[in-house]
């Protein structure tokens, strides 16, 4: 079985977040066939292991996708399907690379669930053994390594106002919400300098109002992307208290992460890209991934790596070149060998 065949089998099991069961069972079945010890953990993650003891290297992929099926097909050297890029392609490459990368210690390849929603799969892993190093399975491109992601803060801001006749001078909750949003944009704009990765941004991702309620209500759903050095707590404190004295409820928060180029996992991946004939690029990305969650929590070396163009994530054009899958598999094989031979003890 090669990377493309393995990927096709994973793509054939549609697995939107929260409904990954069939794909996880397929992952575990394939892993066992390849010689891994494989199981499904309490969170529903597929877990495949080879070797014993330390160092323990974790490849943390995810098997869930966003909603929406796409036909699985190979055309002009590319394999298409929902999750081909984000992130079954990286997972397929890691699973095959693992069986070619012998060495001391343990290699664990995890097909985590619900990465696209609440990272429940990765959060479950945080309660278990801490590995010595982590590669998060996200599309970086076969010759690139992702060393940073911005943080993510999602909040609901609720405004309430006494009901009044619309002909009166009193402001509605919706009026106040719009005024507050303009003020919040000014505050965020004042922090927007430097490169995009080091810039705070804010998007309005939802709004609702209920003028018939008593008191009437208006709700804003905001998504803020946080540069390194600005915690979610600090970002919350930046939000204006006026006008309207709104209630701010945090829905989700993830801190920014940035790894140095000297991180052993980064170095192993960079060396491996070179060995396979590439000219490596270190990427800092504006989105976020499970790297934000696990590397700070465990305090271990880490980076994100996998085949595919992340600009195709979540689109109806998700596809990855078969040749890129093979190259990424070779890179991972070499990186796994180096990291298993040179323990990343912290």
């Amino acid at each position: 079985m090669d990377e493309a065949q393995l990927l096709a089998r994973l793509l054939a099991r549609h697995s939107p977040s929260g409904a990954e069961g069939a794909a996880v069972r397929e992952f575990v079945g394939i892993a066992r066939t390849l010689g891994y010890r494989a199981r499904i953990d309490r969170a529903g993650n597929g877990v495949a292991e080879r070797g014993f003891g330390r160092p323990e290297l974790l490849y943390l992929g995810h098997i869930d996708t966003v909603e929406g099926t796409r036909p699985v097909r190979v055309a002009r050297g590319r394999i298409h399907g929902r999750g081909a890029v984000d992130a079954k392609g990286p997972l397929a490459c890691a699973l095959l690379a693992g069986i070619r990368a012998d060495g001391p210690g343990t290699l664990r390849v995890v097909a985590a669930v619900r990465e696209e929603t609440d990272s429940a799969g990765a959060r479950h892993l945080l309660r278990g053994r801490r590995p010595d190093g982590v590669v998060v399975g996200e599309p970086s491109g076969w010759d690139s390594v992702t060393i940073g992601y911005r943080g993510d803060l999602r909040v609901e801001v609720v405004f309430r106002a006494r009901r009044s006749h619309w002909s009166s001078p009193a402001r509605t909750a919706a009026d106040t919400a719009v005024d507050w949003l303009a003020r919040a944009r000014e505050v965020v704009g004042a922090r927007s300098s430097g490169t995009p990765f080091r810039t705070l941004t804010m998007k309005l991702v939802g709004l609702a109002d209920d003028p018939a309620a008593d008191p009437e209500e208006a709700r804003l759903l905001l998504d803020l992307r946080l540069p390194p050095g600005l915690s979610s707590e600090e970002a919350l404190a930046l939000l204006p208290a006026e006008p309207g004295s709104p209630t701010v409820r945090t829905i989700a928060r993830l801190e920014a992460v940035e790894r140095p180029r000297t991180d052993p996992v980064v170095r192993a991946l960079v060396s491996a890209v070179r060995a396979v004939g590439g000219s490596p690029t270190l990427f800092r990305r504006g989105g976020s991934s499970d790297l934000n969650l696990v590397v700070p929590a465990w305090g271990v070396p880490g980076a994100a790596y996998g085949p595919g163009d992340s600009r195709l994530d979540h689109t109806d054009h998700e596809s990855v070149a078969v040749d890129e899958l093979r190259r990424a598999g070779s890179v991972l094989e070499r990186a796994f060998v180096e990291l298993r031979a040179r323990p990343v003890v912290v």
Binding site: R261, V270, F283, R284, G287
Partner: protein
């Protein structure tokens, strides 16, 4: 002492630390110190940003 992997100019190891990035004095290529004993350098990875995940 080692050679620049791009232009073969001499590269001094004095005062360098592992992971340090510095330009080759001859060709200007950004080099990264890969190891101190023995001293080894290679072209530093490029750096970039995008909005993806």
């Amino acid at each position: 002492m080692t050679e620049c992997p791009v232009c073969a100019a001499d590269v001094e190891s004095k005062d360098k630390i592992a992971g340090e990035v510095f330009p080759c004095v001859d060709c200007g290529t950004e080099l990264e110190v890969r190891a101190l004993e023995p001293f080894a350098v290679e072209p530093a990875p490029k750096e970039a940003e995008d909005w993806g995940e």
